[in-house]
């Protein structure tokens, strides 16, 4: 785990932690009631996570910043409709971000490479090995982005964002059993794409 991740103010939602922390609960309630500062605090808590998620989807930093901004603004507009069905606030935000990213880049084929300078490289590790690992991650990322939309969303939320089945199901409005089915199909498709070295 990178050092910077340990310093992040956000905590990753897991399937065993679908209820927001009390402080976040209070902020959400206040934001729903129209408290701008409360929403700004939520922005502070979740910005990095949303940004990382969008970067993964769109590749380019400039685009990721735009979409991240749109995500929070849309979240503010829609917060009155945030229903606590068990989905963490973070999952709800990431769903908004995902939909915006897909809309923004629906016509932008091919997939832009992920452009970033990693915040925390392995400073004393082999740069060649890091470069090769980066290449492998990019191949897998591009394969994921070639999946059907709901397969992509399940894979990213389950394995990249580390949400449990219940949280993913709540965020996407599906049953947990359905999420497992989609997950299986998605991994099988990734296997096919990678095994056959399909141009991604």
């Amino acid at each position: 785990m990178h050092v910077e991740e340990g310093l992040d103010a956000e905590t990753r939602a897991t399937s065993a932690d679908s209820e927001p922390a009390p402080s976040e609960q209070a902020l959400i309630d206040a934001a729903i009631a129209g408290d701008v500062q409360a929403f700004a605090a939520l922005y502070d808590q979740h910005l990095a996570r949303v940004y990382r998620h969008v970067c993964y989807l769109v590749g380019r930093r400039a685009d990721a910043e735009d979409i991240t901004q749109q995500t929070f603004l849309q979240a503010w507009q829609a917060i009155g409709r945030y229903r606590r069905t068990g989905a963490p606030f973070a999952a709800w935000l990431l769903t908004i971000a995902h939909n915006l990213a897909v809309s923004a880049h629906r016509a932008a084929r091919p997939i832009a490479p992920l452009e970033f300078e990693p915040v925390a490289r392995g400073r004393w590790s082999d740069p060649e090995a890091e470069t090769l690992a980066e290449i492998d991650r990019e191949v897998l990322r591009r394969a994921i982005l070639r999946l059907k939309p709901e397969q992509r969303q399940v894979v990213i939320m389950r394995f990249v964002e580390d949400f449990g089945y219940a949280d993913v199901a709540a965020a996407l409005g599906k049953s947990e059993a359905n999420v497992r089915v989609i997950q299986h199909r998605a991994l099988a498709e990734l296997r096919r794409l990678i095994a056959h070295k399909v141009k991604v």
């Binding site: 910005l47 849309q74 917060i79 490479p113 090769l132 897998l140 991994l187």
Partner: protein
């Protein structure tokens, strides 16, 4: 006990093993034994391996500048709208919730800085010392840049950050010169590109300091003096670096020229044209710069100098404006489309970094590693090219470096007896060397040349 299955992997079966994956040491040896059926076990093993490989999101963080600007812009946009109760359909349809974002003040990631200091102390000053001479692609280069990042983080204000960036730019220039002498074109390009960014960032920080009412005349004067020397040094270095890196060095020199112009204005002086040996005084013309000129005299007017823009005119920011773009119109790294001669953005820098890594691998005699890196480079180059964010001239320069490195790797060149990888790919006379690269628009078409794979390398030939 291994599970019995009905000859297939079901979603529930897969989910059970995925749940156990977190506790398992590796997909090959999960916490729960794989089913008896070898076909099912094999499929499960592969699916689990993919799930494990997906891993975490990229270790990217929003920049401090984006954090502060985004927050301020969010608050401004929200304040302009009524408190949300239930969003209107009209609002969603018209997209009236989109508004430009505005900039604000900075915030320093102090905990990151503190932990970085702790790590450096723990490893000893020797590591830091060893990193000082590192070039892009070297093992210790990340240590060097980490220390530099720390210096920048700890700078107290915008003016201090500008001074730090000025110092870092000088380091980049040294790297350009040393990498050029070593014939490492990719390292030259990485360093030159970083120089341009650091000069631009220094100017932005100084602009912010000036906008806040601070008198930055002395710092601007120092910046101008340094940039003048660096511009001349880059002009001289351009003649000595490998051909593939000349464009990057030229861009760095242009960045120095722009920075010099702006800094001189802030210092209260016109950009000083200096009499050049054998040519008229035209500041900024790379080809005419010769020996390092004397520092400009504040207030002096250069003969023939162009009329300076009005005081306080900010230099063109290195980042696009903060208006939210329309969907489907992704912005470039500088708000400018990738043209014939210029590529920007981290995608391009990522490509340069891969070339540098392959170059370093070759220097260490790790040809196979270099070829793997170059394989990944080729895919990423193709993707960036097709996305429209790669200028044609830069694409050709990158390809030329790629081919050179591939040839060197194939020839089994070691660190001491490297095939000249950076000979001029553009002969002044005679026909161009036969290209082995097929433009992406032609791939798959009858008669098109094959992919630029090194011949005789099975793993590459199989793609």
């Amino acid at each position: 006990m291994a599970r019995r299955t009905d000859g297939k992997v079901t979603p529930e079966l897969l989910a059970r093993y995925l749940d156990a994956l977190d506790a398992g040491p590796a997909p090959a040896a999960p916490a729960e034994p794989l089913p008896d059926d070898p076909a099912v076990a094999a499929e499960l093993r592969e699916l689990l391996a993919i799930a494990r490989a997906i891993g975490s999101p990229p270790p990217v963080e929003p920049t401090p500048e984006f954090r502060r600007r985004g927050r301020a812009a969010l608050l401004a946009a929200i304040s302009a709208r009524p408190a949300p109760s239930r969003p209107s359909l009209l609002g969603w349809l018209t997209g009236t919730w989109r508004q430009p974002f505005l900039p604000r003040l900075a915030r320093v990631p102090a905990l990151v800085a503190a932990l970085t200091i702790a790590l450096l102390v723990a490893t000893g000053a020797g590591v830091v010392s060893a990193a000082q001479d590192a070039l892009p692609g070297d093992s210790f280069y990340p240590v060097k840049t980490a220390v530099e990042d720390l210096r920048l983080t700890l700078a107290a204000d915008d003016e201090s950050r500008a001074l730090v960036l000025l110092d870092l730019a000088a380091t980049r220039l040294s790297e350009v010169e040393r990498a050029g002498e070593a014939g490492r074109a990719a390292a030259v390009a990485v360093a030159a590109d970083a120089f341009a960014r650091e000069v631009a960032a220094a100017d932005q920080h100084l602009e912010r300091a000036a906008s806040s009412g601070k008198d930055v005349g002395a710092t601007a004067e120092r910046l101008a003096a340094n940039l003048e020397r660096q511009q001349a040094a880059l002009a001289a270095a351009r003649d000595r670096v490998p051909d593939q890196a000349k464009a990057s060095v030229a861009r760095a020199a242009e960045a120095a020229r722009k920075g010099l112009t702006t800094a001189a204005q802030r210092a209260g002086a016109e950009p000083a044209g200096r009499p050049q040996t054998g040519g008229p005084a035209r500041a900024g013309e790379i080809e005419e710069a010769t020996a390092a000129p004397s520092a400009p005299t504040p207030g002096a007017q250069a003969p023939g100098a162009a009329e300076a823009p009005s005081p306080g005119t900010p230099a063109a920011p290195a980042r696009p404006g903060w208006s939210l773009g329309e969907p489907g119109q992704p912005s470039s790294g500088t708000g400018e489309p990738a043209g014939a001669g210029q590529s920007t953005g981290e995608g391009y820098r990522g490509l340069l970094a891969k070339l540098a890594a392959a170059e370093a691998a070759l220097a260490r005699g790790r040809g196979d590693t270099a070829l793997r890196i170059l394989d990944g480079f080729e895919s990423e180059l193709d993707a960036l090219d097709r996305s429209g964010h790669l200028g044609s001239a830069d694409r050709e320069a990158l390809l030329a470096s790629y081919r050179s490195l591939v040839r060197a790797a194939e020839a089994g060149a070691n660190a001491g007896a490297r095939v000249k990888p950076y000979e001029d790919q553009r002969p002044s006379d005679g026909p161009r060397p036969e290209s082995t690269h097929t433009p992406s628009s032609q791939r798959g078409q009858p008669g098109a040349a094959s992919e630029p794979r090194p011949k005789g390398t099975p793993e590459h030939g199989q793609r």
